[in-house]
Amino acid sequence: MSDKIKFTIDDVEIEAEAGQTIMQAADAAGVYIPRLCAKNSLTPHGSCRVCTVKVNGRSQASCTQPVAPGAKVESETEEIKAYRKSLVEMLFVEGNHYCMFCEKSGNCELQAVAYRLGIDAPKHEYLFPARDVDASHPEIFIDRNRCILCGRCVRASKELDKKNVFQFIGRGIHKQVAVNADAKLSDTDLAGVDVAASSCPVGAILRKRVGFAIPVGQRLYDAQPIGSDIEANRTDK
C-alpha cells in the first residue's frame, strides 16, 4: 500500500509521506518556507510563526501541521508574506540586534530571513529591553540581547545532549532563557561540544574566540540567500 499523500503548495503539487509535516514535505520537494525556530534534528516548536501558511484557508504553522491529502496550502501570497515580515520585524524590535558589529552577521538566520523577505527597517517601534550577557563559561557566552526565544538551545540540550542546561523562565514579553544554575552558565554542565552550544540561529549563544575566524564576505548567507540549499532540491523544475 502506498503511503504517499498529494497536496499543493501555491498550486505546485507536492508528494509527501504520511506523517510528515508540511515543512518536511516542502523541504523534500525543494520548496522553501521561511522559518526560525524549526531545525531538522529537533522536535518542532511552532513558536516563531514565521513558517505560517494557510491550509485550506486556515492559518497554521507549517513546522507542526501534518500533511493532509488534497490540502491546498498557500505560502507565498501577499497576505502571508506581510505576516512573515511583521513577525520577523517583531523579533528585531523585541531584542537589541546590532547586525553591524555582531559576530554572527552573515551566518545569522534572523538576518538572512529578513534579507530574504525584503526587510530594510522594522515598521514596529523598538522596545530596547535591558538584557543580560553571561560570559562566565570558558568556551561559550550568552548575549540575551540577541535571543529570539526560538527554544533551539532548550530542545537541543534536552533532546540531543540529554542535559537540561537551558529552559524558559518568566512569561509574556518578560520571557527569557535561563540556565540550570543559581545564576551563571559556568555553573551548569554545558560542554563546548554540546549540540546546544551550536544550535542558536542568531548571535545569542556563541563560541568564544572564533567570532571572526571566517571573514565577512565568505559567510554562509553572503553568497546565496537562506533557503537556497532547499531550493536546489526542487523537483518540478
Partner: protein, 605 residues
Amino acid sequence: MNENLEAVIREICQKYANDSARMMDIVRDVQSSMGGVSKAAMKAIADAVGVAQVEVESVVTFYAFLSPESKGKVVIRLCNDFIDRMFGADRVAETFEKEFGIKFGETTADGLVTLEYTPCIGMCDQPPAALINDKVVTWLSTDMASRIAKAIKADGNIDKLNLPNGDGNNSHELVNSMVHNNLREKSDLIFADFEPGAGLKNAIAETPVEVIKNVKASRLRGRGGAGFPTGMKWEFTRGAEGDEKYVLCNADEGEPGTFKDRVILTEAPDLMFEGMTVAGYAIGAKTGVVYLRGEYQYLTAFLNDVLQKRRDAGLLGKNILGKSGFDFDIRIQMGAGAYICGEETALISSCEGLRGDPKNRPPFPAQKGYLGKPTSVNNVETFCAVAKIMEKGAPWFAQKGSQGSAGLKLFSVSGDCKKPGVYELPFGTTVKELLVKVGAEDAIAVQVGGACGITVAPSSFDEKICYDHLATGGSVMVFGPGRDLLELAHSFMEFFEEESCGYCTPCRVGNTLLKRRLEYVMAGKGSPEDLVYMETLGNTIRNTSRCGLGQTSANPVLTTLQNFRSLYEGKVKPSKDGQLASFDLNQAVGLSESIVGRKSIHHHD
C-alpha cells in the same frame, strides 16, 4: 536554616509522592509555607522530584501567585480590572498604600504585607474586590480598606477581620466568605433542585455509547465559549487508543467579567461532579481532575467535602452505584494565577506540573492529552448541563435555546447596571433584552465575551447572544454614559500583555506593540496611519498566533476600531512635517544629549 528548608521541602514533596507531575501542588505549598520559592528551594524541590532546577524555576516564574522572592505574610491582591476601577479600586489602592506606607508591588520592611494588583478575580458583580491571601473581600470602600489594614497591622491575623458572611453556601462553615452569589435569574437547568445521582443513575442504565449519543442528540456545545459539540469531543476521546483516559474540568474561570462558575461551584458543585462522572463513564476514564483557578482557593475545603460525601454515597469510587467495574474519582488541582490556563492545552500542561504553555495541535487532547493520554476537557457549566440532560433527557434540553445554540446559558453581568449578577437565560436572547433585565437601558456599549470578545455598539443591541452571532462564555460587561471605551480597550490590552504566555512571537511581542500604539493614539500623538497600523498589526496577531489567546487578544482594539471608530478618529491628526506624531525627536536625542552634555541641533524647544 538550610537544613530546615530542605526538611520542609522533602516533606512537601513526599506528600505528593515526589511526583514531578504534581509540581503545581508542590510549589504552591512551598510558596505558602515559606512566602516564596527561593533558588535554594528550587534546588531542593528539583533534587526531591528528579528534575532540573531550571525546570522548577520555569514553573515558579510563570504563575502570578508564585515568586522566587519572598512575599509578605499577608499578600493583598487588589483586582484592578476596568470594572473594579470604575467602582473605586484606585481609591482603595491609595488607602492601602497610605495605611501600609508602601506602593503596590512592594512589601513592608517588617515582611508583614505585600501589595499587588491582580486581573479579574471573578468578583466583577461586587467590585472593588481583593484577595487577602486566600480570603476574598468584596464591595471594598476606603473605610473598609482602612479598617482591614488596621486589623492586619494590629496582629497580622487575617482570620480576625470580622467580615460578614455572604448568602447561600458562602456562609457554609467550610467557605466562610463574604462573597455574594447575586443569582438574579434561575431557570430549570443549573440552579433547579437536583438529587445527587439522579442523572448518573440514568446514564449507567445505558451503555457508554448510548450516553454519548444522547449528549450529541441534546446538541450541547461547550460552555467555555468556543462551542465545540460536547458529544463529539467525548466520542473522539472514547474512540482514541489509550490504556487510561482522563476527564478534566476547566474551572479556571479567568475571562474578565466572568463569575458564573464561581456561583456553580458554590451552589451546585454536585451537578458539576455528577457531569464529570457521567463523562468518566462515557469515555472510559477512571480519573477526573478539576482545574480550579487559584483565586477560588477559598472554595476548596467545601468542594473536597462535597467530593467526600459523594464517595460516601457511592457516587464516586469503585463500582459506582453498584455498577461493577465502573470506577471513577475526582481530585482538585489548584492553579496559581494564569489566565492562559483556561486554554485547554495550557490547562493540561499546568495539570502536568509544567508552565502553562499551550501545546501544539495536533495531536488534540482527545488523542493525546493529560500525561499523554486521551483526555476530554470540558467547562464547569458543560458538565452541569450533561448531568441535567441525563436526568431529564436530550429532547428536553435540545428544544431550549436557539437553532445552532441549544439550551440555556449562564450570563455573568457586571458594570453599569442596576442588577449585576448571574442570569440563566436561553441562547438567542438579544443584548437589548438582557439590558432591560439587568437595568441598563442607557448603556453606551456592551462587552460580550470578555476581554477577548466584542465591544458592541448600541446599533447592534438587537443582535442575539449565541454561538453564531455574539458568542460568549458568559461574560457581559455593561458600560453607561461617560465611560471611556479607549480606556477600556487599553485595560484589556494591558491584561493580554500580562497574560500572554510568551511562547509565540505575535502574541508575546505583538500585544505589547499594539498596546503601545494605542497609548500614543490616546495621548493625542497619533496620526491616521496609526489606525491602519493597529488594524494591520491586530490582524497579524489574530492570524498567526498559536492559540486562542493570541487569536483573540487584538479584539479589544479591532472591535472598537470597527464599532467605535469615531472615538479614534477624534484623537488622531495628520502629521504636518512628515514625521509621525508619535515620534518624539527630543526624547530620541535625549540620551545622547545627556552623554555629550549639550543640546542636539535637532532639539526643538
